[in-house]
């Protein structure tokens, strides 16, 4: 299934924050986004990589229309995101889902897994009670959790299982774009690898597009088809992972490559 229309098209996006300090007339202007243009095609995995404070999360929030840019436009499947309103906007919102760092840790401890998964369906009043339940069972299977666990509460799941639950909830409304903002940060490598496998598997079965936001270039090289290196509100370099690794053109990219732990050590890391 190939559509010509990209999932996301961003043009000339700018956003500045002004900080005022108490007792001071000084104002600090932070350029979170300083002229961003990019195109993300359907079914692809796109990664925005940069240090914290580089503005990459602001871009993610703009894409989910949770933040209004100062200038510029974003089209989601050809529709101008910031001109939508009412039912049109509601429909588009369903198709864009966000997973943050710590989403899994912040699942409501009083809710059962089922309530957690169908909460978005209830809010959007999608389907009857039975249909919602069937959907919950289906989603549990999809993320590799036994459906009999639907009555369990978040604390009865392990860290990795909670991540799966968070993904199941994000998939409840059948989104077409999943934005994962530092969703791997703070996870064990073993859980990280499980998540990567799950996301890849999901993408192969449905027409999902991923936008990853991360500071971890080495991990992103494994999950993304295309990586944009972010620095101070701008994309300084963009390309396929293997190209960025073998031929980095910008100092910011080189700095991120240098920082990968174990990179220069003589150890082969398990390549026996």
């Amino acid at each position: 299934m190939v559509t010509t229309e990209p999932v996301i098209r961003v043009q000339g996006l700018r956003k500045t924050y002004v900080h005022e300090r108490p007792f001071s007339r000084e104002k600090f202007v932070v350029r979170a986004l300083d002229g961003i243009d990019l195109v993300i095609s359907a079914g692809s995995s796109f990664a925005l990589v940069g240090e914290s404070g580089s503005g990459k999360s602001t871009l993610a929030l703009c894409m989910a229309r949770l933040e209004q840019p100062g200038e510029g436009r974003i089209w989601f499947e050809g529709q101008d995101l910031f001109r939508l309103s009412g039912p049109e906007l509601m429909r588009v919102r369903r198709h864009i889902q966000l997973i943050f760092q710590g989403t899994a840790a912040a699942l409501n401890p009083r809710f059962s897994a089922e309530e957690i998964i169908i909460e978005p369906l209830r809010i959007q009043s999608v389907g009857t009670r039975t249909e919602q339940r069937d959907r919950a069972v289906h989603l549990m299977e999809k993320v590799g959790l036994p459906p009999v666990w639907l009555s369990r509460r978040p604390h009865q799941f392990s860290g990795g299982q909670r991540q799966r639950l968070a993904i199941a909830r994000a998939l409840a409304l059948e989104p077409r774009l999943l934005i994962l903002d530092e969703a791997f940060t703070g996870l064990d490598l073993s859980i990280q690898a499980q998540m990567v496998a799950l996301l890849r598997d999901l993408q192969s079965r449905e027409n999902l597009t991923y936008v990853f936001i991360s500071h971890d270039l080495s991990l992103m090289a494994h999950v993304a088809d295309e990586i944009a290196i972010f620095d101070r509100g701008r994309i300084v370099e963009q390309g396929q992972p293997s190209r960025l690794f073998s031929n980095p053109c910008q100092p910011e990219t080189r700095a991120l490559l240098e920082a990968i732990p174990g990179r220069r050590s003589v150890l082969g890391l398990g390549q026996s």
């Binding site: 900080h19 300090r21 108490p22 007792f23």
Partner: protein
């Protein structure tokens, strides 16, 4: 500064709101000060109508509110029907006695509960902790009224403390030192009732706050660096627990005030309590409103003090992000 101004404005709004509400609620109560007079055949309906007009009770509620507000601005706070005096004059001497009792007991209760709470938290689940927790639970289950009565009986049986009132009958003839001694003797009993009533609540909060604070990563880390136990308790853990305790402190002034009113009635301490009771029974409306306003003022002031303390103790509130 903006933070404190905002809080101040907030407090003022609360006071206005409470004045309106208390005005409305007092109207809801059946009857009024002059109702009883109607039963008296010697008082003509004409006289009653005249009296009501004199005190403005025949006017519509909003007009009465505005009149009252004007009287507040003058510093009178309305008139007492029963005493024929401005409410402010009536309340002030009583309020002083109540404040003396409330503030002393608040300070004393905190002074005891902080070290006790720290002690218990540090020995969590060991003997010292279990004994103090059990004691505080027992004290917590006793109603304030029962506590006051028990103390009163104790005082009368043992004759150790003066029971009832604030001074002895021969107070006026005593010298200065003897006067202070006399007041102190009368003071002990209501003070003990209030302190014993609130101590378990404060103690539990301090203990819980300290247990939580001692488990914080920052305290763990201070321990890992070998900072001595006593310094950790007072310099690290107590400030970490302080935010919730300071908020409780502001709130405690109000709780203590209402507990104090009860204890005052039982021990006939000449504070706001007995007067408020009398005024409610007689439907002496402006006195009731005045007392309610004063209590609200204490509550607001207590919270304001708490806000100032928070502002001073926590740099995150004080400075904002770098």
């Amino acid at each position: 500064m903006a933070y404190l101004l905002r809080r101040l404005l907030h407090g003022a709004l609360v006071l206005v709101g409470v004045s309106v509400l208390s005005f409305l609620f007092v109207q809801l109560a059946p009857g009024e000060f002059f109702s009883d007079m109607r039963l008296n055949p010697q008082v003509s309906p004409e006289t009653i109508r005249h009296l009501r007009a004199q005190y403005g009770l025949d006017r519509a509620l909003p007009i009465r509110y505005v009149r009252w507000a004007r009287s507040v601005a003058k510093g009178d706070w309305g008139y007492s029907f029963a005493y024929g005096l401005p409410v402010s004059k009536l309340i002030w001497s009583r309020a002083r006695n109540t404040l003396l009792l409330t503030i002393t007991s608040a300070l004393l209760a905190w002074l005891i509960s902080i070290p006790l709470g720290i002690y218990a938290a540090e020995r969590r689940d060991r003997w010292g902790d279990r004994v103090t927790v059990a004691g505080s639970s027992a004290l917590l289950t006793v109603p304030d009224l029962l506590l006051a009565l028990a103390l009163l009986i104790l005082a009368i049986r043992t004759n150790a403390f003066a029971a009832g009132g604030m001074t002895s009958p021969d107070f006026a003839e005593l010298g200065t030192v003897a006067k202070i001694k006399d007041v102190a003797a009368h003071f002990t009993l209501p003070l003990a009732a209030l302190v014993l009533g609130t101590l378990p609540i404060f103690f539990r909060h301090v203990r819980a706050g300290m247990i939580e604070a001692l488990a914080l990563p920052s305290i763990q880390s201070a321990r890992a660096h070998g900072i001595p136990r006593s310094r950790i308790l007072f310099r690290y853990a107590l400030p970490a627990a302080a935010n919730s305790l300071i908020s409780l402190f502001g709130f405690s002034i109000a709780t203590l005030l209402s507990a104090s009113l009860l204890v005052e009635v039982v021990m006939s301490w000449p504070g706001l309590g007995p007067m408020l009771l009398e005024a409610i029974l007689a439907r002496d409306l402006y006195v009731v409103i005045g007392a309610v306003m004063l209590s609200t003022f204490f509550l607001v002031a207590g919270n304001l003090v708490a806000d100032v303390l928070l502002y001073l103790s926590d740099p995150r509130i004080r400075r904002g992000p770098a």
